[in-house]
Symmetry: C2
Subunit: 127 residues, 2 copies
């Protein structure tokens, strides 16, 4: 299935929603299955209204859904905006892979030059 290019507003909303540890923790909890607002509130030292605010931000970004408007209906994870944010980041993969390859090469060179390394050049003989 093709992933349509998301609108800029959608990406704004997704990245903004992900920019908070409580909201990321809520998504991590929902990754193991749907949960009610009460269940989602339990692990946090936070009031239910405070959690509900975070849930609203996640809902507006389309990252979670619920059956009906009632508090008791469980929230579920919606993966599409995560896939779109991931696709945006994937465009930059060559940069971090390139950077890591250069670092790896540097570390290998440093190891080869370490004293006691059997791969490095021999130290100059003092005679």
């Amino acid at each position: 299935m093709q992933l349509n290019t998301p609108s800029s507003d959608r990406l704004d909303a997704t990245f903004m929603a992900l920019a908070h540890p409580t909201r990321r923790a809520i998504l991590a909890r929902l990754a193991s299955g749907p949960a009610s607002v009460k269940e989602l509130t339990a692990p946090f030292d936070m009031s239910q209204p405070a959690i509900s605010k975070h849930l609203k931000i996640l809902e507006r970004a389309g990252l979670i859904s619920h059956g009906r408007s009632s508090q008791r209906h469980p929230r579920a994870l919606e993966a599409k905006p995560l896939a779109e944010a991931n696709a945006w980041l994937e465009e930059y993969r060559r940069f971090w892979e390139g950077a890591f390859q250069r670092l790896d090469a540097l570390l290998e060179e440093m190891k080869a030059l370490e004293p006691g390394s059997d791969r490095g050049p021999l130290p100059p003989t003092l005679s």
Copy 2:
């Protein structure tokens, strides 16, 4: 090379920095090479101070760097925070891949049931 688990604050800063179209456009520009503040300002209908504010947010998140503090030193893309944000999203890959597979299966089923489809079941004979 191992990617260390970023602190929650770092992920907050990265996702927050990515939650704006101008900042994403600046990163896209820097993907083709380092650029000065003047060069980064040119494509936007925005003042240099407005662009500088966005650059500061990107810098604080570690997404761009520059040689020295002068305005004239070019900014460069730093890929590590993007790699970390990508790694966080990758944890959810099974959700969107699962969702797309289910949708694909549904679309295939619908196609098979279309009138005129040579792959669908034969209509019941009226005799």
